[in-house]
């Protein structure tokens, strides 16, 4: 076939990817400036505040870059594995979703720049932003629901035309991801639609703060699995093809995604361990559930190494770790996701420490937490997405990915890894020494204890600058991709090592899984939320303190 991906589908995908990368670049400028302010290198000019930048950085990176890239990537894979073309319905929903999300992003950005929403990306009450900020968030979420409907429509269409056959792995995983997203966004939708919007418009005077926090974190934890699952799609389905191998266990990969669908949501209290209003019993119950959600990642770690090892041994490499040499280190399509996997090891360890009930007191709201999520979302997720972009963009634009782009990509992701190492490393140590996060300055008027943190702030600034340079390389690469020679770039999708019959069909019984997920959520949340509703603390009026 001359075209790797259908033209119309490619347009939908490319629009999402470019929008995502644009958000990343702007968010990256903000991040670099933040680091430099904290490191004492610059002072911000009048007209923009540190906390505005921080709000923009969080929203653009954690909500816009991620969501748009994920939706674009998943539409591309769905198109590829379900016959090479999205249905008109699927594509149409995809476009409506995109526009709603884009308009929401634009309104939100304007509010942030106008200093009417300097509430950070978690927008905790009773800090009160302009109602248009919350409306903007609602538009992004509702838009994503339509995008998800488009993906599910494509999946349903494939299943109707292939009755009795097991779905392609990429499609299964995309559906699981969007399924989790629907479950997760229920929480933030409820709090934004029924609490924040009426309250910020002044239709109600007070807001139940604990309820709003609980609903937000009901969403906030599965949000990170919404980011992670597409990364796992790349690691499970795409990377094996790139290294010349096959998917180690299709069945276990699906099981991992089912477990993520079940256990990603009933765990939000591990972000609220230091709060009043929730008893230690419920906190600990959700800590137990949090530790269970580690299991699909343990399965994934084994599966990835097993893929590497079986591929390497098949190519004749011997010894305990000889197969390591079989891996295509000079191929950015592999190198970038691999760096993401490596970052996920300390990322996962730190995450477990964070969620460890009373031990959270060691790190809560210190900059260790910031170091943690720069390893997970800003490396495991982001660097994998960079690795995808280098082949996906040529593939969907009908061009040939050249060795020059590959080399540029290797430099870009290596700089990114270096920047993260310096910045996140400093954040972890400084956080353990007590340095707080989310603050423009940690000197506290010359305090001696605070002075210990200064050298780490300098390291963070350096790391931030290196990351920004990496983004410049990416921008250069993107411009060069426009001028690539016309041709074909492979869309790498691996085959399974085992035949399709080896995968049990019960894995695809979505009704059962969604039902079980709902049961777990009720078990974890019903009573504590009922308590917040039945014995509400006095509500809070809004504050605009910036």
């Amino acid at each position: 076939m001359a075209q790797t991906i259908d033209r119309a589908d490619g347009k939908l995908v490319l629009t999402h990817i470019i929008f995502a990368l644009a958000a990343l670049m702007i968010g990256g400028i903000a991040g670099m400036l933040q680091g430099m302010v904290r490191g004492g290198v610059i002072e911000l000019p009048g007209g923009i505040g540190y906390y505005q930048l921080l709000t923009a950085h969080g929203v653009l990176m954690a909500l816009v870059f991620t969501t748009f890239f994920i939706i674009g990537f998943m539409f591309s894979g769905l198109s590829k594995v379900t016959g090479g073309k999205l249905t008109a319905t699927s594509r149409g929903l995809g476009w409506v979703g995109f526009w709603l999300m884009a308009v929401g992003t634009a309104i939100g950005t304007v509010m942030i720049l106008a200093n009417k929403a300097t509430v950070l990306y978690t927008f905790y009450a009773p800090l009160k932003a302009s109602p248009w900020f919350y409306i903007a968030l609602a538009l992004v979420v509702v838009g994503s629901w339509l995008s998800g409907a488009g993906m599910i429509a494509q999946y349903v269409s494939w299943r109707k035309n292939h009755k009795g056959k097991i779905s392609p792995l990429f499609a299964f995983m995309a559906v699981a991801t969007m399924g989790l997203w629907y479950i997760a966004t229920l929480g933030v939708a409820i709090t934004v639609l029924f609490q924040f919007i009426p309250w910020s418009f002044g239709w109600v005077e007070e807001i139940n703060v604990m309820l709003s926090r609980t609903l937000f974190w009901y969403f906030g934890h599965p949000l990170v699995y919404f980011w992670l699952m597409p990364v796992y799609i790349c690691w499970y389905v795409i990377v094996p093809k790139i290294i010349g191998g096959k998917i180690f266990s299709d069945a276990l990969a699906r099981l991992a995604f089912v477990l993520l669908l079940l256990f990603s949501t009933p765990v939000g209290f591990h972000h609220q361990l230091m709060e009043p209003g929730i008893t230690p019993f419920w906190k600990f119950l959700q800590v137990i559930l949090t530790f269970i959600v580690v299991v699909p990642s343990l399965i994934t770690a084994f599966a990835l190494f097993a893929t590497f090892e079986t591929t390497g041994r098949a190519k004749g490499y011997k010894g305990l770790f000889g197969w390591f040499k079989a891996l295509p280190w000079k191929d950015v399509r592999f190198l970038a996701p691999f760096m993401g996997m490596v970052a996920f090891i300390p990322g996962g360890i730190g995450g477990m420490i964070n969620a460890s009930h009373q031990m959270n007191a060691l790190v809560h709201n210190t900059i260790w937490v910031t170091g943690h999520f720069h390893l997970t979302v800003a490396t495991a997720v982001a660097i994998t997405f960079f690795g995808i972009a280098y082949w996906l963009i040529p593939a969907i634009t009908g061009r040939r990915m050249t060795e020059a782009i590959n080399r540029l990509g290797i430099i870009q992701v290596s700089l990114w890894a270096l920047g993260i190492l310096v910045m996140s490393g400093a954040m972890h140590i400084s956080g353990l020494l007590g340095a707080p996060r989310r603050t423009s300055d940690t000197t506290y008027n010359g305090n001696e204890i605070a002075a210990q943190w200064d050298p780490y702030n300098v390291l963070m600034a350096i790391g931030g600058v290196i990351l920004f340079i990496s983004l410049i390389f990416m921008a250069v690469a993107l411009i060069k991709m426009i001028r690539l020679p016309k041709g074909e770039t492979e869309y790498p999708v691996a085959e399974s090592l085992m035949p399709a019959e080896a995968t049990p069909r019960w894995l695809e019984r979505w009704g059962v899984w969604v039902g079980l997920a709902a049961v777990l959520i009720v078990v974890a949340y019903a009573i504590p939320i009922a308590d917040l509703l039945a014995n509400p603390a006095p509500g809070a009026k809004g504050f605009v303190l910036w």
Binding site: A125, M274, E275, P276, T279, K283, H357, Q358
Partner: protein, 157 residues
């Protein structure tokens, strides 16, 4: 579903590791008293009426036993009431904290005192200050333009 023998061992190892972590945490939390900050009963206070609501109508440090104190603290934008606190070495302090405005953090750097002060709710944690010295108390949850200036000291003599 076929699972490789070595993978079964790995997952078993993982489950045991998680179970050990949870057991350690559970024992320390529920039997050794090393627990998350919390209030036992759901104690709501009206953030607009703190000046009329005991104990927050009189923030301060009160001795309640031999080198044992209750520290009633109001965290506000952008400071702490009471400001500086001074106690003798070995002091066991029960912190009782709330906010009249937005969510603040209450962190004593270098210790495990680290909790959220939420308007409408009362949070509690207990800590014994064995080591003399000057401790930095700071707000570690974004609360507005003066967030980075929100700090005070706890001095242990």
């Amino acid at each position: 579903m076929h699972i490789h023998r070595l993978e079964k061992i790995w997952i078993a190892f993982g489950l045991v590791m998680l179970a050990v972590f949870l057991t350690v945490l559970g024992i320390f939390a529920f039997s050794q008293g090393v627990q998350t900050p919390h209030s036992y009963a759901h104690q709501g206070v009206d953030p607009e009426k703190l000046s009329e609501t005991p104990p927050f109508d009189q923030p301060g440090v009160y001795q309640i036993g031999e080198n044992e104190y209750e520290a009633v603290i109001v965290t506000y934008a952008f400071g702490f009431n009471p400001g500086e606190i001074t106690v003798p070495a070995g002091a066991r302090i029960h912190f009782v904290v709330t906010s009249p405005d937005v969510v603040h953090g209450f962190e004593i750097a270098g210790t495990t005192v680290n909790l959220m002060s939420i308007p409408g709710e009362v949070n509690r944690v207990t800590y014994t200050f064995d080591k003399p010295g000057e401790y930095l108390i700071l707000c570690n949850e974004y609360c507005g333009i003066g967030h980075q200036a929100m700090y005070t000291k706890l001095i242990v003599i």
